[in-house]
């Protein structure tokens, strides 16, 4: 590999981030964009990602830069999360949400996987009311809809083992 070419990213507030090409390639969005457009001297604007979040995302991609398994779509939902990743996700709920949205937007599947698994673990084994409380969600069902859901849910339409 020759010396890495570098890419300039701009966050929503206008902060600039200079990163190596191979780190940028972890994002499928950036990878495809750069392949299509070729090297651009100008910065790539990321209006949907704030500076702090972009820093976190770059941190993740840099840590996993040499990871051979990174790009292989890992369908194993039960695989354990490794230590570094666990620590990485110990952030407040707001940051976690923004990370999910950033990973979704930038199309970084392993980061999406990790953050979604983290939130899924927060939902796991909770009752609907507990879920609403944890995430501050309003119940927007009308009484009729609520009734219908309750009836459907009670039926054994999906078997559980």
């Amino acid at each position: 590999m020759s010396a890495h070419s570098q890419i300039l990213l701009t966050s929503s507030e206008g902060t600039e981030f200079l990163i190596d090409r191979d780190i940028a390639d972890k994002s499928m969005l950036l990878k495809c964009m750069l392949e299509d457009i070729g090297e651009i001297g100008q910065a790539v604007p990321l209006p949907n990602v704030s500076g702090p979040i972009l820093t976190k995302v770059i941190e993740y991609c840099t840590h996993h830069r040499d990871d051979p398994n990174f790009l292989s779509a890992n369908d194993d939902v039960t695989a354990d999360i490794d230590e570094w990743d666990l620590e990485y996700c110990k952030v407040d709920q707001g940051t976690l949400y923004e990370l999910i949205l950033a990973a979704n937007y930038l199309d970084i599947k392993p980061l999406m996987d990790l953050t979604c698994k983290t939130v899924a673990n927060m939902i796991k084994a909770k009752s609907p009311e507990e879920i609403r409380k944890t995430f501050n969600i309003t119940n927007d069902f009308t009484p009729e809809e609520e009734d219908q859901v309750r009836r459907e849910n009670g039926k054994d339409w999906v078997d559980e083992h």
Partner: protein, 516 residues
């Protein structure tokens, strides 16, 4: 089965946001496409972007919420369905990707629903051939397929596998018509990670070796009630396998089969040869390489009566991180118990039931050292005596939750039954975490005067099973049993020990107790 209809969507997106978060607006955001990322809600020109408003929650965007929920188990998904509308839609979609399709469902709307929501796991039970054809025709993205008691034939299975080559989990239970031809079709699933074959009678060397060679990613392999008696697996040679879980239950594997698989599976974490009573395995078979079982956490050799104790000892010496051990009905001796005790810092589950060659001394060594035991079974036919309760040696397993202890000889040592029972009650009453206790045997006699009431200290006891007593329970003892252990949910006593009138008394006093 009702129609799975989402709540009317017309209201969902149009209603003005009376909530704190901009749920509806955020739904318009598409992922991935950078050109659409700039939301044109406010009619501004395309080049003038708005700094993002307050953080939008991924839990309000159905696509993203689906990503999160698709990693949940079915129970949690059922809870999610009732949270709010977007959760309902995302959770229903996630639930539909795992579908159990039973032949009793004659619902024509079933198939369109399945196709609409996508499906990647199917289980069929007791099914007719027609369903198999539909699956082969319609399902191309299967990840998991489970066929239980179906009449699947080789060609039908072949068609399904060809249509869905990305299957990573395949479970074939009791599908009698399948032959070795089916196994050769499985070889095409190069991404296969989990394979379970139960009750397949037609296997041969070529098919098993072929699967192992063609599916190198297999991590989980279960061959239960599969006739392996003629499979030597020598043709496997050196083929690095990724197997982490291996179970050959009741399949009578030969020594060379075991040798060849173990030699190629250095990553093994769980290994079971349960119920292979006649598989005579030697040290060479179980230890084909000098450095094995490094990652093993779960070892099950239940009823492996044809494995000599020196082979067992050699294997146990190498397993330094075992968490669960089942040696029920084997020939292990005190030397092996000593080794297990020395390596027991992670041991939580231990089954030493019906091991005829262990003695009190060996067991005591284990009991005084293993601090993390949660489950212990030491049932025997009088092989162990009340000597294991000797007061000068405290059991270290204070976290024990389940203890199965049937058949301890309470007459030995010394023939002093009452004192021996007293020692037992003393020792047991210290197990404050105990939830499930099973005792009994021809030597057991429960009497208050021997110290039975000390067992009242077991505040967490939920299940008490008395398996055969020497004498029927006395009246005082029964009255004591009725009142003790507030958390008790289940009591199992033989009819001979607790007559019907007393049972009725029990049921009146403790109506929520399950009395068996």
């Amino acid at each position: 089965m009702t129609n799975q209809r989402t709540p009317t969507s017309s209201s969902a997106s149009a209603s003005p946001s009376r909530k704190v978060k901009d749920k509806d607006k955020s739904k318009n955001r598409n992922k991935n496409d950078s050109r659409n990322s700039i939301n044109n809600d406010n009619d501004k020109g395309q080049n003038e972007w708005q700094p993002p408003q307050q953080p939008k929650s991924p839990l309000a965007i159905e696509e993203v919420l689906y990503e999160i929920l698709s990693r949940l188990d079915k129970h949690s998904l059922h809870s999610c369905v009732s949270v709010n509308r977007v959760f309902y839609r995302a959770a229903v979609r996630a639930l539909w990707t795992t579908v159990q399709w039973k032949s009793s469902l004659a619902n024509p709307s079933f198939l369109p629903e399945m196709l609409r929501y996508g499906h990647n796991a199917i289980e069929l039970q007791d099914n007719f051939d027609a369903d198999l054809d539909i699956i082969a025709e319609k399902c191309t993205r299967l990840r998991e397929l489970r066929l239980v008691w179906t009449q699947a034939t080789d060609p039908k299975l072949h068609n399904i596998l060809v249509a869905s080559p990305k299957i990573s989990s395949l479970y074939l239970y009791n599908c009698k018509p399948l032959t070795t031809l089916a196994l050769s079709h499985i070889q095409a699933l190069s991404g296969l990670k989990k394979l379970e074959l139960k009750n397949m009678l037609n296997v041969d060397e070529a098919s098993i070796a072929g699967i192992l060679r063609s599916c190198p990613l297999i991590e989980h392999l279960v061959l239960e009630d599969v006739r392996l008696g003629r499979v030597a697996l020598d043709s496997l040679g050196i083929t690095p396998l990724s197997i982490k879980t291996l179970a050959l239950t009741r399949s009578s594997p030969t020594g060379s089969f075991v040798r060849n698989v173990l030699r190629n599976s250095p990553m093994l974490r769980e290994f079971s040869l349960a119920r292979n009573v006649h598989s005579a395995l030697s040290v060479e078979d179980l230890l084909p390489e000098p450095d094995m079982y490094r990652y093993l956490i779960n070892l099950n050799l239940e009823s492996c009566k044809s494995i000599p104790s020196d082979a067992l000892l050699s294997v146990l010496r190498l397993c330094v991180g075992l968490e669960r051990i089942n040696l029920c009905g084997t020939w292990i001796d005190d030397a092996a118990l000593d080794v297990i005790a020395s390596n027991s810092h992670k041991l939580t589950n231990l089954n030493l039931g019906w091991c005829a060659q262990i003695t009190d001394a060996g067991l005591l060594r284990m009991l005084t050292v293993s601090r993390n035991l949660v489950f212990l079974d030491i049932s025997s036919h009088g092989v162990l005596t009340a000597g294991i309760f000797r007061p000068d040696l405290m059991w270290a397993c204070s976290r024990l939750q389940t203890l199965i202890m049937v058949g301890i000889d309470m007459m030995r040592p010394g023939g002093r039954a009452q004192i021996n029972h007293g020692m037992m009650f003393d020792q047991l009453s210290r197990l404050s975490c105990l939830q499930d206790l099973a005792i009994g045997g021809p030597y057991l006699d429960l009497r208050l005067e021997a110290g039975l009431d000390k067992m009242g200290k077991l505040d967490n006891l939920e299940s008490f099973r008395i398996n055969h007593l020497q004498n029927a329970l006395g009246e005082d003892e029964i009255r004591w049993l009725v009142e003790v252990w507030p958390k008790l949910k289940r009591l199992k006593v033989e009819l001979a020990a607790l007559s019907e009138p007393w049972r009725r008394y029990f049921r009146r006093r403790r109506p929520h107790l399950v009395l068996g």
